[in-house]
Amino acid sequence: MQASSDIERRLIEADIAPTPQRRVIAQAIQDNANHPDAETVYHLARQIDPHLGIATVYRTLKLFAERGLVDRHDFGDGRTRYEVAPDIHHDHLICVRCGNVVEFSNTSIESLQEQVADRHGFELLDHRLELYGVCAQCHGTQPKIVSGKGVQPASSPSQQTEARNLSQLAPGEEGRVIRVGAAGKLGQRLMSMGLVVGETVRVEQVAPLGDPIGVRVKNYRLALRRQEAEAIVLEVATAQPPEVGA
């Protein structure tokens, strides 16, 4: 973690009053190297200050972007991602499978760009370069999430996670929804009952005959069949053994 005085300095430089909430949010973006989206920023920031509201996060991010403190990126997965504006220019490699973002800078690309601009009589002010592909980790190995949306690890990036569907969880285990893989009626029903991306779901009960299962989501209890639960892909922590529950 970087010294908070550094963040304070940058806030002041950007002409933003360094309120505690703004400091927390800036800290959250800075600590996460993986270009978090607003919701992830919100989750991260809440670990520092649990009283933050998402509206505050959105407002603050907007302000940061306007003042140039952070850069906004759209990597085509439908969410705006944020990054503390770097002092040195760099470009991005984006993995379309896991959503991982790698920063790089390459002097020959930079000079090539300037050559192209020159040839067309362009005065180059700024540029963005985003390269899409499959990262080393995803490449060659069986993709864990088939056609999943790009999602960063939930809480601490150091924690090991794996993708499993809800039906595979034992009572007491929990995970964060990363995909609802059911279209139409069932998908709509599952989502309207609160099984939306980003939500934490915990399996609490299995019916005496083995099916359906009872889960806790959005602080209430929901029952669904295993067949239906299969549509819900979760990100489950593997580093820690699951807490023993019911």
Partner: protein
């Protein structure tokens, strides 16, 4: 002023409406709809206030009957105010529906219900802030105690005066909000511009639809690909508009990587998350509550099923043993004093004999017959109300779903099926708890195969006459046969009539709550009254019809010569392959259509012609009134005794077996094998007329007709197989 109440199931919506309206609430007569909307009219400060209690839903899409009923009402019968009933202990999920209600642009009041429980759990809601953020009135309420309930109507008045009321007003407010970007919920940089674009197109292309339906809501729904929205535009929208919708949907899908519906849902829940963050405070961390502890026991892998079966047995036992004395009392009062008084009164008025007979036997007898259902229904609905209100019903569905899923049913079908063993009629009505029409039809088709308690006297008569040594086994076998036929029929229907995916199970397990006595009584009163009103008419009509058949041509002496006898004789040959082709047997089965226990009494009438018609001194009216009162007290006592004795808490003297002339005559008319075939037929053939009426009302007459045909066929086949199979095996 018309106020509609909408909310999630289990949010305490009905309790809230009950608290406001009490017994004034009644099931409205809404044509073409089987899910109930209830209505009550109040007078508040001299002004008429009409309350409409809409079915509980989680969302306003059009995937279930409840959703459709609620949505159609809000859209097409646009009330003046909506009260969104919200469970304060679970704001996050409950507000999802509220947001959708707000998008309809009807002035809204949020009732933060279950406020007491929230307080106990240390959940604080900043009421003022919630009201400010959503631009509505918020009233904390406790429906069970009535706390805060009185503030609802004044709040409804305030929003009604303040907010835009008509669709046109709301639409222009919406346009302004779009220009300024001040909409409550934003769906993000991808969807918002698309909504705006489509909104403009809707204004241009289908102004007529937009004058009735909120524009922004319709635009969002169209982009979601909602069926109901398509129906609204059907025949109105030019082809170009349809193309535009599809292009926009495609664009969102491509750029957003997901269906619009999913992105919109995400947007709503995202907004709610922030909102809840802002207004809800928890003074202490969550801990395992009572509900969780109870569920550990009740849904336990080992104990879950025994507990469930035990509870069902208990409900059954108390319902049927407890109500029998009351049924006997009602029956005694009606067929005794009431009919006599009717005759005397009519004679005094100088009515002709036939009219006197029709009114006293046909009409009073028919009414009496309707009333005999009342005791059992009171008991049954009291328990159902308890199971439903406490939250156990959802657990029963959870436990039994696996078993029922195999025959294409839903866990919730179990309760109606089980009820069928008591009486098929409330069982059919109970299918209303099921989510889809398909489930309701399939369950209702199988319910008549659950051997109801009215069939028991028939079995009892025959096993007493023929199978004294193995009475229990034979009766148990008949019940099992019914269940197996239901499983078989369910399996066949699933693969023929109801091909396709069975509906999803996804269901809330609500927290356990103790229903109030008041709510239980209201529930029971409501259901029993509905039964008497709906089924009563049919029963009465049928019993009058049968009276005519039995007594025409006028002055007929022998049953055999009446129209009834003629019909029975004509029907008799149908039963020849089953070994009982006498007109008496056919006649008994015919009257059994009214109610299966009537089979026994008809047999008594036909076979034992020498019934003692002895009448002593006609008792005085005073004596009879006293007799009715004493009879009721005795019935109360007997009810308690029979319930307790069944539980083996006290011992009751067993009834002496009636050595009757009827048994003798039956032994002459049937052989053990034909008796068995007869019982199988009684088990399976057409449901009684009341069940038919219930089926007709709930499913439509086509399905009721189908049910009659398939049950008759099934009954005939299995009865035939019993008789012929028995003969092949060498039983005479």
């Amino acid at each position: 002023m018309r106020i509609a109440f909408a909310g999630n199931p289990n949010a305490g919506k009905s309790a809230l409406v009950n608290a406001l309206a009490g017994t004034r609430l009644h099931v409205g007569n809404w044509p073409g709809v089987t899910v109930e909307k209830k209505e009550a009219v109040l007078r508040v400060n001299g002004q008429e206030v009409r309350l409409v209690d809409l079915p509980g839903t989680y969302s306003l899409s059009t995937y279930s009957i409840e959703e459709r009923v609620t949505r159609d009402f809000l859209l097409h019968d646009r009330p003046d105010v909506v009260v969104a009933v919200v469970d304060a202990t679970n704001l996050e999920r409950n507000l999802y529906l509220t947001l959708q209600l707000l998008e309809l642009g009807i002035p809204t009041v949020i009732a933060l219900n279950v406020w007491d429980e929230a307080r106990e759990k240390g959940i604080g809601v900043d009421v003022q802030r919630l009201a400010d953020l959503l631009e509505v009135e918020v009233v904390p309420t406790v429906a069970t105690t009535g706390e805060g309930v009185d503030a609802l109507i004044p709040a409804a008045r305030r929003v009604h005066e303040r907010q835009p009321r008509t669709v046109a007003e709301y639409n222009s407010a919406c346009r302004l909000a779009t220009e300024r970007g001040t909409h409550l919920v934003h769906y993000g940089p991808l969807i918002d511009p698309e909504v705006r674009l489509l909104g403009e197109a809707l204004h241009r292309e289908v102004p007529e639809v937009i004058s009735r339906v909120p524009c922004r809501w319709l635009a969002v729904k169209c982009l979601e690909g909602d069926e109901g929205a398509r129906e609204l535009l059907d025949g109105q929208a030019p082809a170009a508009l349809w193309t535009q919708i599809e292009v926009q949907r495609h664009r969102i899908r491509t750029l957003g990587g997901n269906e619009t519906a999913a992105l919109v849902t995400d947007g709503r829940y995202g907004f709610i998350k922030g909102l809840v963050q802002d207004v809800v405070t928890r003074s202490r961390p969550e801990r395992r509550d009572l509900t969780e502890r109870i569920d550990r026991l009740i849904l336990n892998r080992v104990l879950g099923i025994p507990i469930f079966l035990g509870l069902i047995w208990l409900v059954f036992h108390i319902t049927f043993d407890g109500s029998t004395p009351f049924i006997d009392w009602v029956d005694g009062v009606v067929s005794g004093p009431l009919q006599r008084w009717a005759k005397l009164g009519l004679a005094a008025l100088g009515a002709p004999v036939w009219m006197s007979a029709l009114l006293s036997e046909g009409v009073v007898g028919g009414v009496g017959f309707v009333l005999t259902f009342v005791p059992v229904l009171c008991f049954l609905y009291l328990f159902l109300g308890l199971l439903e209100g406490s939250g156990y019903m959802a657990r029963a569905a959870f436990i039994m779903d696996r078993f029922l899923h195999g025959i294409g049913l839903h866990g919730k079908s179990f309760i109606p099926m089980i009820l069928g063993f008591g009486c098929n009629v409330p069982a059919v009505y109970a299918t209303r708890a099921l989510d889809t029409y398909r489930d309701r039809v399939l369950t209702s088709l199988l319910i008549p195969l659950m051997s109801c308690s009215a069939r028991l006297p028939v079995y009892a008569l025959f096993v007493a006459a023929f199978f004294q040594k193995s009475q229990g086994t034979i009766i148990f076998g008949l019940y099992m046969l019914g269940i197996m036929l239901a499983v078989g029929a369910g399996f066949v229907f699933k693969h023929t009539l109801f091909v396709g995916e069975s509906p999803s199970f996804v269901m809330e397990l609500p927290p356990y709550r103790l229903p109030t006595v008041r709510s239980l009584l209201l529930y029971t009163w409501d259901k029993v009254r509905a039964f008497v009103k709906k089924a009563g008419t049919y029963i009465l009509a049928t019993s009058i019809l049968v009276w005519f058949l039995l007594n025409l041509p006028w002055g007929v002496e022998q049953r055999h010569d009446s129209y009834f006898g003629i019909v029975a004789s004509a029907a008799a040959p149908v039963f020849a392959p089953m070994g009982f082709d006498s007109w008496e047997a056919a006649g008994a089965l015919l009257t059994g259509i009214i109610a299966k226990e009537v089979v026994v009494s008809t047999m008594g009438e036909i076979y034992a012609a020498d019934l003692d018609a002895g009448q002593g001194q006609p008792p005085t009216v005073g004596d009879e009134l006293r007799g009715i009162g004493v009879g009721f007290v005795t019935a109360c006592k007997d009810s308690v005794v029979s319930v307790l004795s069944g539980l083996h808490l006290i011992s009751a003297t067993p009834d002496a077996a009636p050595p009757s002339a009827l048994t003798q005559r039956i032994r002459q008319a049937f052989t053990p094998l034909t008796a068995l075939a007869f019982m199988v037929f009684v088990l399976t053939y057409i449901p009684c007329v009341v069940t038919m009426a219930a089926l007709g009302q709930e499913l439509g007459w086509r399905w009721a007709g189908f049910s009659i045909v398939y049950l008759l066929t099934l009954g005939w086949l299995f009865s035939f197989m019993t008789y012929q199979g028995g003969r092949l095996l060498g039983f005479a």
